[in-house]
């Protein structure tokens, strides 16, 4: 049961059709397809914000999965558990990012710990990011990285709330992989 009907291929609006060409577009596209003009700007944005960029994939997945776990987004946590594992994160690291173990138990790189603490306070808010977290992150991240990762937290929050509020279903393929690896 979802909070919104997912648009199937035969009802895909014209601007959404490229996303349905010979593939399952996934629930985010199938929900956004209700408003095609939003779909056609949101997906390219998400592709750039979450996809390959100047910041390495591992760093980005740390931010995405940690933010999603802190925000309690079932869809994003499940989906990015698989993405994180595919990116090379260990079972222990993913478990810690999901909140199933202390971060310090899985991570010992000061840069990554600073990044994770910073991402969490950026995501949760409210108000200004505490000066200590901002200063610690600045020691390890360039201004360009801070900008990109701040936007990544924001894009992840957008997805967290979108997927949670609309109760988007996790794909069977992802659920199968989670079951295979013993994730709850």
């Amino acid at each position: 049961m979802t909070g919104v009907r997912l648009i199937q291929a035969e009802q895909a609006p014209l601007l959404a059709r490229p996303y349905y060409a010979n593939r399952d577009p996934g629930p985010i596209v199938a929900a956004l397809a209700h408003v095609p003009e939003l779909l056609e700007v949101t997906m390219p944005f998400l592709d750039v914000a979450l996809g390959p960029s100047a910041v390495d994939a591992r760093t980005k997945e740390l931010v995405i999965l940690r933010t999603s776990a802190v925000m309690g987004c079932r869809y994003c946590v499940q989906t990015h558990t698989v993405v994180a594992r595919n990116t090379g994160l260990s079972v222990e690291e993913v478990a810690a990012l999901r909140g199933q173990a202390p971060l310090e138990a899985a991570f010992n790189d000061p840069r990554e710990l600073a990044l994770l603490r910073w991402a969490e306070v950026v995501a949760v808010g409210p108000g200004q990011v505490p000066e200590a977290a901002q200063r610690e992150a600045s020691l390890h991240l360039s201004e360009a990285e801070l900008v990109e990762l701040t936007l990544l937290v924001g894009a992840t929050l957008l997805l967290n709330r979108f997927c949670t509020a609309l109760e988007l279903p996790t794909s069977p393929k992802v659920l199968g992989r989670l079951a295979d690896e013993g994730w709850a």
């Binding site: 009802q11 609006p13 014209l14």
Partner: protein
């Protein structure tokens, strides 16, 4: 000149913008695209919105308007609205031709001096065959209404929507519309499109973007590729020909439609005489 105006001038984009004035109707035709009937939700676009859209359509470079439904003439403000729309751009209004009371006919008289047409559905030259598709007494009401519009100087176009029509029946139909005062140039024959209620009755031809002129069509639910786009089946709006949910400002769906049209391969334009 706007990109829309250039596209209309170059015949890349059709010049007409359609408004779905409402979705309710006094009839329940077997091939109705929108499952309209007296109980259908009205979903009116509203006169102020249509006027604002018409002004913007003219500014963008569109050259004509169309009003359809539902049965638009169930809206009490329609005669005066048509005159105001026609003062902005030439307008054609589609009607089933069954609600033209004497008072309403008189209110339509100003259209005689304006670039306005009323397109009335008449599918068969004999009452029984016509009314089987469109409902009891439809034929009688239509053949009474058309001459009364014509004698007031209102230009009438007749649309015949059929799965097939043989030469003899076509000849009888043409004799009829000439007798009613409608010339051959104002009679169109078009196929039933298999959408809406026509799906349930196994009627019509399948039609997609390649078959339908890209006539920007505005409804309460959004902007569509064609007036054959915002169809309803099983009580649910079809979205396969949805362009954008945004309808105002009109430049938003107009730009999106133009991008879609320009993305089509050469020659992929209308083939089915669906208009």
């Amino acid at each position: 000149m706007s990109s829309v105006a250039e596209a209309v001038r170059d015949e890349v984009l059709p010049g007409r913008v359609w408004f779905y004035a409402n979705y309710h109707c006094n009839l329940a035709c077997t091939y109705c695209l929108t499952e309209s009937d007296p109980r259908a939700e009205r979903r009116e676009l509203g006169s102020q919105r249509m006027l604002a859209l018409a002004h913007e359509a003219a500014e963008l470079g569109f050259t004509a308007l169309g009003v359809t439904g539902g049965e638009p003439f169930l809206l009490p403000y329609l005669p005066e609205l048509l005159a105001r729309l026609a003062a902005i751009l030439p307008v054609v209004c589609l009607s089933n031709g069954t609600v033209f009371t004497e008072a309403r006919l008189e209110r339509l008289r100003p259209l005689a001096e304006l670039p306005a047409q009323i397109q009335i559905s008449l599918d068969r030259p004999e009452p029984d065959a016509n009314d089987a598709m469109r409902g009891p007494q439809n034929f009688r009401k239509v053949v009474e209404a058309i001459p009364r519009l014509v004698e007031r100087g209102v230009r009438v176009r007749i649309a015949t929507t059929v799965t097939a029509i043989d030469d003899h029946e076509r000849a009888r139909l043409c004799q009829l519309h000439r007798r009613l005062g409608v010339p051959d140039a104002d009679h169109i024959i078009r196929p039933i499109v298999r959408r809406g209620r026509a799906v349930d009755h196994g009627l019509g031809v399948d039609a997609g973007p390649a078959d339908l002129p890209a006539e920007l069509t505005i409804t309460t639910d959004g902007a569509f590729w064609s007036p054959f786009g915002p169809t309803v089946h099983g009580g649910r709006l079809d979205t396969d020909l949805l362009v954008t949910r945004t309808t105002m400002p009109l430049r938003v769906p107009a730009a999106a439609l133009l991008r879609l049209v320009q993305g089509r391969p050469p020659g992929a334009d209308s083939q089915l005489n669906i208009r």
